[in-house]
C-alpha cells in the first residue's frame, strides 16, 4: 500500500542533533555554572562580576533554547514567539532603568 509518511515527522527526525552534541552542551553548561561560582569568589569590583555572571547566564539560556528546545532547527518563525516576549521584557527593563537613572 502506497501511503506517504508525513513530511513533518520526517523533518523532525532529520533535524535532531546527535547524543554527543547533547552531552557536549551539558558539559559546557556545567563548566559555565562552576565558572560563575569561581568568578564570584575572585577579588574585584561588583559591577564587573555582575556583567560577566549575567552574560554567562544569558549564554547558558541561549544554548539550552537552541539545542535542547531545538530552536536552532525549528526555523525563525517559531523563534519569533519567545523573541517577542523577550523584547517586551527588555522594554520593561529599559523603562525601569530610566526611572532609576532619571530619578522618577
Amino acid at each position: 500500500m502506497d501511503v506517504p509518511f508525513p513530511t513533518l515527522l520526517l523533518n523532525l527526525g532529520e533535524k535532531m542533533p546527535g547524543i554527543k552534541l547533547y552531552i557536549g552542551i551539558w558539559l559546557g553548561l556545567v563548566v559555565a555554572t562552576i565558572m560563575e561560582v569561581v568568578i564570584r569568589s575572585l577579588p574585584g569590583p561588583a559591577s564587573v562580576f555582575l556583567t560577566i555572571i549575567l552574560l554567562i547566564a544569558g549564554v547558558k539560556a541561549i544554548a539550552i533554547s537552541l539545542y535542547y528546545q531545538n530552536l536552532r532547527y525549528e526555523g525563525i518563525r517559531l523563534a519569533t514567539l519567545p523573541l517577542a516576549a523577550i523584547i517586551g521584557i527588555v522594554f520593561l527593563a529599559v523603562s525601569a532603568g530610566l526611572t532609576i537613572t532619571m530619578g522618577m
Binding site: 508525513p6 513533518l8 547533547y22 564570584r40 547566564a57 533554547s65 516576549a85 517586551g88 521584557i89
Partner: protein, 257 residues
Amino acid sequence: MNDDEHTEKSKSSYMPLIIASGVAIFLLGLAIYIPVLVAGLIIIVAAVYKMFKDGAAEKFSGTKETPEEETYPLESVTNEKLGLWIFLASEILIFGSLIIAYAYVRVNSGSWPIATQTHNVFLGMTNTIILLTSSLAMILSLYAIRQGNVKGLKIGLGSAFALGIAFLVIKLGFEWPELISKGFTITSGLPASTYYVLTGLHAVHVAVGLVAVGYLIFRAYSLGFTSSKHIAVENVGLYWHFVDIVWMFLFPLFYLI
C-alpha cells in the same frame, strides 16, 4: 455535513477561552475574595473536564493524531507545539517581569544582604547542575523514542523525574528550613520576600513539570509511545527546559550577586 466541515468543526472549541476566563476569575479571587477564587477554580476544572470529554483525551492517547490537520497556521509546526510556545512566551513575561521588579527593588534599596553570606552557594550550584542534568535526561529520552528506543525513553524520563524530585528536596527540605531558622522568612523584608516569591514560583513550575513527566512515564508503560507518535514527550520537554532556563538566571541573581 461533508468531511471538510467536520474537520473544521472538530478543531474549534470555546474551552480554552473559558479556561482563560476561569484563570482570570481565580486570580481576581486570590486578590479580593476567596469565594470568587473558588468559582474560578470550578470554571477551570469544569472546562478542562469538558475539553477532555470532547475528544482531547483520545488525541492525547494517540488514537486521533492526524499531523496533516494540526499544522495550521505554521506549516512546519504542529498546533500543540505552537500553543506551547505561546504559553512559554507568556511565562517569559511572568518571570521576566518579576525579575525586573526584583532588580528594581534591589537597586533602589539602601542596603541589601550579601548573597554569598545569606544563601548556601554550594546547594544552589548543586541544584543548578541537577536541573541541567535533568534537561539532558529529558532530551535524551526524546532522542531515544525518535529512534524507536522505548527502554531509553523510560530510563530518560525516570532520570528526569528523579532529578526534579532531588531539586525540590534540596530546595524545600534543606535550603528553605536553613534560611527560616536564620530568621530569613517571607515577612522579614524585601530581600527575603523577593527570594521566596521567585524561587517559590519556580519550584511550583518544577512541581507541575514533575506531574507532566509522571504522566509521560505512565503513558510510556501503559499506552506506549512510538518513533512516530511522541508529541507529548517533545512538548513536556520544551516546558521542562524552560524551567531550567529560568533557574539559569535565578541562581546567579540570588546566590552570587
